[in-house]
Amino acid sequence: MTTVAVKPATMAQALTRALRDAMAADPSVHVLGEDVGTLGGVFRVTDGLAKEFGEDRCTDTPLAEAGILGTAVGMAMYGLRPVVEMQFDAFAYPAFEQLISHVARMRNRTRGRMPLPLTIRVPFGGGIGGVEHHSDSSEAYYMATPGLHVVTPATVADAYGLLRAAIASDDPVVVLEPKRLYWSKDSWNPEEPAAVEPIGRAVVRRSGRSATLITYGPSVPVCLEAAEAARAEGWDLEVVDLRSLVPFDDETVTASVRRTGRAVVVHESGSFGGPGGEIAARVTERCFHHLEAPVLRVAGFDIPYPPPMLERHHLPGVDRILDAVARLQWEAES
């Protein structure tokens, strides 16, 4: 086995590589969506695939999201493994009926006879200075829909691993790709990508004793930064990267919070009715007697995603996270 120098790669590159490897390994993997062929996608994640595998494997569709997802359902019925790209999170909304009423339920309503091995890639979240409708966080909708898996990578390696796992899954998987991490770099060896882990395991990105930050996707780097900054305050924060929102890894999260006794959930998505409520509620159910303070949430405001010039106020940042940590009733401990 030759050793290849580990070079920095972006998350977008890792995603492209995951698609390419999956398509090479399995001729039933087909990519479809708006501008995914000739252009290589507006984020260039499908760059080169049409050239390498032909337009029948990587197809520019007409401009209609329900049509894209609906035809992908039919392709999956015939044994293909379609990978659909929704151009931006907000442009997945026209496909909701197909998603909720068919994609999420087909396995169940056919007693397992007609599984839908479908991957739905959704560039998600803000922080890229996008104009309106280009920065939504829509994970709450997907999480509330039984039958879907929902994953989101925070690192280059996970981007590869989770996308491969999604394509390999016999269930529909929504892959939320944090837009603002597309160009984040990491040393990662595309020739020896990490083994593909099954979907559903969170990971402790940083160990700590004082409190747990529970987060995912684009907020993971922010939380790691906050944890570094917290050292100055004397807090040793643990950071759990959920990676998979559905299924939810209660084990890892619960173990962490039982250890630290305090937790803050951090995400970009709006607070009210957002993922943080679910997470805080289930952590509290499981860790009540270990908790020194209520599980707090640091989230986007309950407003339509703001414009570029104001988004920094909306996005959970280091200061807001540390403010929340400070409210974790430290007096009570001493």
Binding site: G79, R107, R109
Partner: protein, 378 residues
Amino acid sequence: MTVMEQRGGYRPTPPPAWQPRADPAPLLPDAEPYRVLGTEAAAQADPELLRRLYADLVRGRRYNTQATALTKQGRLAVYPSSTGQEACEVAAALVLEERDWLFPSYRDTLAVVARGVDPVEALTLLRGDWHTGYDPFEHRVAPLCTPLATQLPHAVGLAHAARLKGDDVVALAMVGDGGTSEGDFHEALNFAAVWRAPVVFLVQNNGFAISVPLAKQTAAPSLAHKAVGYGMPGRLVDGNDAVAVHEVLADAVRHARAGGGPTLVEAITYRVEAHTNADDATRYRGDDEVETWRRHDPIDLLEHALTERGLLDEEMKRAARDAAETMAADLRARMNQDAPLDPMDLFAHVYAEPTPQLREQRALLRAEIEAEQGGTQL
């Protein structure tokens, strides 16, 4: 500075030659719905086909009356009858080869049965069960579809996939007049035409979407005229003329199989019964209209043609009726047995593997049921 000013001798050119993407003329439907029965063409129709259609129509009508009866006995949660529409239902099933796929809506259990699915399985969903009953792969019939028009893109995707795999499979997708108003209808037809997917779209225009008559649904010359806007042929057919429907659909299937792409077929028919057993049709239409259509009944039309050609004797009629009765009796008997339902199945197929959360919920329900069965009280 304009281009004109930049370049001395410049004169604007005519628009870059515009070419229609397709000749519209052959895509437009005929001015009148196509008919065979009651016309001279009836004399030429294949006797075998006529007899086959007749037997299936009689059986189909009996299936409809039996299923409606089962709703009264509480054995079906709901039944959307296709009485009066049997010609379309049966022809849709008959034109397909074994390797082809049928995409039915909730109203099309008769087509599903005509394709070979056990009626009890075809009625599973309407019985109030949580699954589609039949194995979609056994007879290549997609699960019954309730959200309107959403099955149409599935048919397109499946047909497209088959073509990509080199299989000469055709998908036939059924939808109602009301369903044509949905965005999914539009997107499906457009994808099909762009991809030249081997799909046949059969719109059963039965005059109503629940209470809403066609005039409130569309202002188009006909629903078949929508085809030209996608670049596929539109055909208009008398939906109660089983032979005409069969011919038009068979043509469309052949066209699709030969790589010619999709066709939109509008069959003009009528929903003789209420929308479902739960509907009260007297609220929105008069008996006259129903009566007019009852006199253009698909079975009568066919029986008349067969009789005129001396192709139907009393014995054959009796045989058709007996076969229908046998089917009905069997259906009745088997539907009168309670479907075995295991509450634990609720968790079995949400995912390939139940999530940890579903395992917990399953355990909770199991404990509850055990407590209930053990007679334990809180």
